[in-house]
Symmetry: C2
Subunit: 276 residues, 2 copies
């Protein structure tokens, strides 16, 4: 089975690295020839291409790991093997999936996916099969999907190290992701940008500040696109957050130790049960 990964950044690179030794014929497409050269030299891909003309006609599974805006162009400009599967790693789904489906012939199946894994750093050098190990993966099911293709994808990503694989609609995906992924990025960016820089902050931090600002190191192109194309759900999640923030604020102002403790106990229980 031929698997082609498009875009050997931190996610696509982690795919080719996780695929090594799994029995697939793996090829890579990237605009950066140096990345292709390294990926080939290190034995992760059989061959690298700067476009899809040659290899996509033969590829049984094509995983497109590009920015959402470019995925559509890539699909439009390329011809895929009949009966093959195309997948992606786009972080938001509903705005984009219908457009993608319209571009794809009926004899090719689109199985959209979201690996809930990544790194703050960009590029192939930061890619690793460890990125996927124990992580969550979401398959986004639509009306044109065949059951066996969904099952194939479940087994495929489980084999790459993902611990949990869930199947849901594009709308449900975008709703939960606005909370679990986009809202944390809003908070991290707002936190670090709210530093009045009166002190030499880095000398007065512990792990709490380090943890909460790690993702403030953010890819601005990607995340502006993700935020603006998932506006409704993101604003809903931000409003939910704001309610809880205001509740703590009121409790602090009015000295309500009981309310603070109640909210802390609730938070502790939720955190302890989060991945049980």
């Amino acid at each position: 089975m031929i698997v082609t990964v498009v875009g050997l950044g931190v996610v696509g690179g982690s795919f080719v690295k996780a695929l090594k030794g799994k029995g697939y014929e793996v090829y890579g497409i990237d605009t950066d020839e140096q990345t292709l050269k390294i990926a080939k030299e290190e034995g992760y891909i059989i061959e690298g291409y700067t476009d899809g003309k040659e290899i996509l006609k033969k590829s049984d599974l094509t995983i497109i790991c590009l920015y959402p805006s470019i995925v559509l162009d890539f699909i439009k400009n390329n011809t895929f093997k009949k009966g093959s599967i195309i997948s992606d790693a786009v972080g938001i789904k509903s705005y984009f999936l219908n457009q993608a489906l319209e571009l794809i012939d009926d004899d090719i199946e689109y199985v959209s996916g979201h690996p809930m894994a990544g790194r703050e750093k960009k590029g192939f050098a930061y890619a690793s099969k460890e990125v996927f190990k124990g992580a969550n993966y979401i398959i986004i099911e639509h009306e044109k999907n065949k059951k066996e293709s969904i099952t194939f994808m479940q087994n495929f990503v489980s084999d790459l190290g993902f611990k949990s694989v869930r199947i849901m609609s594009p709308y449900d995906h975008d709703e939960i992701i606005s909370f679990t992924s986009q809202l944390p990025h809003v908070l991290a960016v707002s936190l670090i940008n709210s530093d009045n820089q009166k002190y030499d902050t880095g000398k007065y931090i512990g792990d709490s500040y380090r943890d909460l600002t790690r993702i403030a190191n953010i890819n601005e192109e990607l995340w502006a696109e993700l935020f603006l194309n998932n506006k409704e759900y993101l604003l809903q999640s931000m409003n939910q957050f704001k309610e809880q923030f205001d509740l703590l604020k009121e409790a602090i102002i009015s000295g309500r130790e009981d309310v603070l403790k109640e909210k802390f106990i609730q938070a502790t229980k939720r955190r302890e049960n989060l991945e049980k």
Copy 2:
């Protein structure tokens, strides 16, 4: 030199563990006899006591690692060696330091400190000398401190593994800590409590949500006390945060990609330079 650590929880426990092999005579005080037994058996303390009557008369340095509210009682109820130093690990300073100073005889020096290190988990079992390694430490200077005592404390904690040791007033301490430590706890608690639990959240998270909620596992007794006794600064930090949060919200509502990117670039630069 005799060093006595009072309260062998995660911070006090890390003190005795980091002190091992450094050439001090280390004793421990804790209300839990089992903890004292383990600490002695594992070779971290020469002897353990459930009160301070016997050992504090001989102790050259006493590090009180108790909740802020109990530190004052402990000082009031005990007699310390003349010429000795008392220190603490309390997370807020201004509300409490003047009260502590009034309780202490002039021939004993109080050198208040804040190790910016800890664990979400409580107790001696989670204590480790690794907790202090590379961490920040703040010495809180007041008008009664002698220069040589401050210098002693700087050297003492550096030797235990702290990377940066800064000296500041109790007010400056409480201001910066409201931002770097208390505000992140407000955000983590608000984030996890704002989950509407429509989905099985733990199956749809990546490291961003894990990172931002780690400290939502929070000791409710301790943090209610810390928040309420640092109200003004904490509310100031929360308001600063809220400004940046609202700014992102407005940019999302009005589709201002340029504003989002500008804030993301600012956040990335600040994160990259945070500990340089």
